[in-house]
Symmetry: C2
Subunit: 322 residues, 2 copies
């Protein structure tokens, strides 16, 4: 690492892994670290691990280097209060003072937003969005998260909670969602959603399928993808149904925002063309005439290690605007 470098500390808190990185203004990850979040263990355990890992990372830099700020991306994080509000799949409590916790470890100006918003900023400054003014990032993982960029700004809404596209309604009497509603988009269009679709298809049909050998807990997005690539009819149909529902709802998002592109990340997006082709077809078929042929669907090029680019972008943006 060059001496006298300026950098930010970026922290991406996920349901499974927490990723740390030191990132310079050009979006280069100078050094990084990963540990298991422990979402099902007490918050105090997380704090201990985070303290240790941050200090380990800080020990890698030269004394002439400067850490200017901290950026944090976390599920259900509110940028105004600095808290994670009731994040599903975490047992840490109803409002978790995550920003304060980080600042107690390293006292720097800190910026926080939810993980999907952070991913959108990462694409805006360092990824596929560097030349775009309006786009939407969809994170298709355990759930469906979203971050909306409008005129090169994150769209926050009135209380900083805009862009919860995982909870637009698909069917009024549809699948039960963790949020308490029924028929939310993420119960169909996410890794968990496609698993549920596979189980529905296995129940409805008599078709032979390799996927009959997995419990719900053991079934994964990769296994469904792999089965589809081998021509498994149930897996292929599950991708088709998922693409139909998500494509129709993406058309609704276009009717709101008219973005130049969607950028997809997360487990479900890793199926590639198998998913992207029907998704494009269904979205186009559902688009209002004026929008047809104008909205791209792209796959994020950020590597796993580069998940810290989102929080890093947030930190650099915060420094530039304050």
């Amino acid at each position: 690492m060059a001496k006298n470098s300026e950098m930010v500390l970026a922290i991406d808190i996920g349901g499974t892994f927490t990723k740390l990185g030191l990132v310079n203004r050009a979006g280069i990850v100078l050094s990084n670290n990963v540990f298991k979040t422990g979402a099902k263990q007490p918050f105090g355990e997380f704090t201990k691990k985070l303290t240790k890992e941050v200090n380990q990372l800080l020990s890698t830099i030269d004394s002439s280097d400067t850490i200017l700020a901290i950026g944090i991306g976390a599920p259900n994080a509110n940028y105004k209060t600095g808290e994670m509000i009731n994040p599903p799949n975490f047992i840490w409590g109803k409002s978790i003072p995550i920003k304060k916790t980080v600042q107690d470890i390293l006292d720097r100006p800190s910026y926080i937003t939810n993980d999907a918003n952070a991913a959108a900023l990462g694409e805006l400054y360092f990824g596929l969005g560097t030349n775009m003014k309006n786009f939407v990032v969809l994170t298709l993982g355990t759930g469906l998260g979203s971050g909306i960029i409008n005129e090169r700004q994150l769209l926050y809404g009135n209380y900083g909670m805009a862009g919860e596209l995982g909870h637009v309604n698909v069917f009024s009497d549809g699948r039960q969602c963790n949020c308490g509603l029924q028929g939310c988009l993420e119960t169909y269009a996410s890794v968990t959603g496609i698993k549920r679709s596979v189980f529905q298809l296995l129940a409805d049909r008599t078709t032979k399928s390799i996927l009959r050998n997995y419990s719900f807990e053991k079934l994964s997005g990769e296994k469904i993808s792999e089965a589809a690539h081998h021509g498994d009819a149930i897996a292929l149909q599950a991708f088709e149904q998922t693409a139909k529902i998500l494509g129709s709802k993406m058309a609704d998002t276009v009717a709101h925002l008219e973005p130049e592109a969607f950028i997809l990340t997360g487990g479900l997006s890793q199926a590639g063309a198998l998913f992207l082709n029907p998704l494009n077809r269904y979205m186009e078929a559902a688009l209002f005439t004026a929008y047809r042929g104008k909205v791209k669907i792209l796959l994020s090029e950020a590597s796993s290690k580069e998940a810290v680019l989102g929080p890093a972008a947030l930190a650099w943006q915060g420094l530039n605007t304050t």
Copy 2:
């Protein structure tokens, strides 16, 4: 009218009436004019009438007054090209050079946008939105138009076509829409939409109703409203169904934008509490937890004459930003 006044010429082109007004910086309509648009007659006829009416309006001002700019709101108008693109219910052609036509009559800096976007700007500068940063205007007339205000700016999207909420999907195999798709929101939640719902209910049920005496052509929003106010079961059910569908889709819009409020205008909104109460109830029930109890539904207070305030706001905004 005071001498030496500064004002803009505002033109609101509707499917039935075209409204003209001279409006000052404070949003006072100094003088105004209305004529029948003639959407089913050749465009040349409209140009003749517009020329005559604009000149008549100009004859009312003092020679010391100054008209600084022109603002135009029109169906399917594109602010970038200055054209109306294929407006439904008009026989004027596929792309109508409306901005050029107006400038040929009066040579001033001219600004154009679609009628619902203009209505949103009218609320922002002179109406219920003067103290709000984020809100959505829904015009519930023949169709359903929408204008989105984000951080006190009209949200335009990538090609200036954002905010076509009339064409989000309600049911994939739903009602036929003028736009070529099926199940669009405006086929349910508009004056035409509720007429269709009344006809569906009259077909499905044996309930007595005053509305059995009207042809589709003669049935109007006012008549359905009036019947509902008199306790007509079909009319009441039609409002209930409309509120359920629109409320659910407004919840989806909140999941995108998290506005502080919706502001409703147009024929359907004039039913008042009869419509507003179930709409509020259904929207709340469909909202993601984080949004509940935070989003207001308001009825626009602009009078019919004040329809020109939208295009006027567009003109004043244009002058301020150029």
